[in-house]
């Protein structure tokens, strides 16, 4: 998926800054202030969205460390027994989640891109100068993959209005 939120936000900031804001009526102070705040907010979102996953993971790791620490210190306090039990359950879930949350989204994205490069190179090597009718089984694998992948990409951008029959497409949440 090439049309990612980071690109979209970047282009919105640019158009608001270069085209829309200069065209706002200078006497409409409310509109000017809110246009500037919208640009500022989007700049923060753009700057931070790539770190959001890492931020959440870091927050969870330190909360778990605090939970460990407090559980140890409060273990002999009868008044805290109920809360300690609840915390222990959540900390156990949290530790499991942290253990599974290992790969950074940027690494995932880069790996996808790399794999696409290598798949493309292999397809070119397989088909160059060949009679494509003799490669039907390989062709089927490529088009079957394309059908599923492109379906997800089309649905991702459904809101842009390109689809002639949007109601025929399943919700994205049921596919990924």
């Amino acid at each position: 998926m090439d049309i990612r939120p980071a690109l979209q936000i970047q282009t919105v900031i640019k158009t608001l800054t270069d085209v829309v804001l200069p065209a706002v009526d200078p006497s409409n102070k409310l509109a000017i202030e809110q246009a500037r705040l919208a640009i500022g907010t989007l700049n923060i979102v753009l700057q931070r969205q790539a770190l959001m996953y890492r931020y959440d993971r870091d927050e969870l790791a330190r909360a778990l460390a605090l939970a460990d620490n407090l559980q140890e210190q409060a273990k002999d306090l009868p008044a805290a027994a109920h809360a300690l039990h609840a915390l222990a359950n959540s900390a156990e879930v949290g530790a499991d989640v942290l253990d599974r949350a290992k790969t950074d989204p940027a690494e995932l994205e880069a790996t996808n891109v790399d794999l696409r490069d290598k798949l493309g190179a292999l397809i070119t090597a397989l088909y160059t100068g060949q009679d494509t009718t003799k490669l039907k089984h390989i062709t089927h694998s490529i088009t079957a993959h394309a059908k599923e992948q492109i379906l997800r990409e089309r649905i991702w951008l459904l809101g842009q209005g390109w689809e002639p029959d949007p109601k025929s497409l399943p919700p994205l949440e049921t596919l990924i």
């Binding site: 158009t15 270069d18 494509t132 492109i150 089309r154 842009q160």
Partner: protein, 398 residues
Amino acid sequence: MPRLDKNHPTHEWIAQLRERFPCEKEIDRVLTRKLQRRAGPPYSPLALTTLIEGTQALIRSELKGDFEIIDANWLSGGASKLQMVFKLKWNQPGVGPTITPMVLRMEPSESVVETSRLCEFQIIKALEGHIPVPPTYWADEEGKYLPYPAMIYGFAEGVTKPTASSSNVTGVGTMIPPELRPVLGGQFIKHLGIVHSFDWRNAGLSSFDEPALGKQAVEWQLNHWERVWEEDANEDVPVMRLAMAWMRNNMPPVDHISVIHGDFRTGNFLYTEHNNEISAWLDWELTHLGDRHEDLAWTTKTVFGHKAEDGETFLVGGLAPLDEFIAEYEKASGLTVNRKTLQYYDIFNSFKSITICLATGSRAARNGKTHQDVLVAWLAGISYGLLDELRTQLEEVL
């Protein structure tokens, strides 16, 4: 091995691409220039006064006598070029003192489609008097007077779609009402026939390369657009590689070299609503010499038309059913249509439009190179529907 950094092209990489994908000299020039400038700064907003001053300088270099630019303003429309509308108060040769509405059409730093202003200028001038096109005035081929290469032509009155209708960006999805279809459709087909049968050999098209009959024309086009894919694509797409391989192995020969508009469709002509006459054909930047089936397959693409009221009959450009369109075209042009070649170019056009929208569009927007990155990035979204169409097209032939 580190991934190739296409945002900072090396001399070696550029040279490799040029050698690997030989194409028309003017196309090679503009694509090479694009890569050489890529690592430079993004597009920064230009003041209208900058364009007015540049336009004045260009006109002054071409014209003796006083003139004045009045009522200058930005003009929207299209996804690739900056446009300024203005009026020129001047002593027009052969006419005398007059005020002429004109349009300045200038490239941004890097465009969703990199093309030659010289080619565009020459082909519009060559077709004046043959089909409705804006009158051409002056070109700044290298950006000597303006910040980027530009041309000036006449402002044509008209609309791209009925005033009351809606569409997505660049006129895609325009609904043509039933009463307009015969009158606009007839003109549309007639004009396409004239373009394809136009005698271009003595028409002043010095910037165009002439392909030989046979497979050279299609080979140049494959080289052109595969090169653009290599230059611009961020993520590779397996089904695009499959398309490239199939197209190389199945190139159809051409029996007549025609002028190919390259984007001949509803949304790229203006018509005047008071008499429903096409007043101008626009966007000649993709024009080249080649196989008429390329234009025909583009014009008849699903995305540029819609269904009739019966919910079943597809109308080419929203104007006429496909069989009727083809039959009328053959009459108008005196040229035949080969359905198998049409199918080939349908696949080629899917590949080309995905390359423009997805590869070039997303890279130009990501690098902040255009005056309307938000539109270019939005337009890239159409690529996934086109990719699915390409997949089904390939399944039919493979």
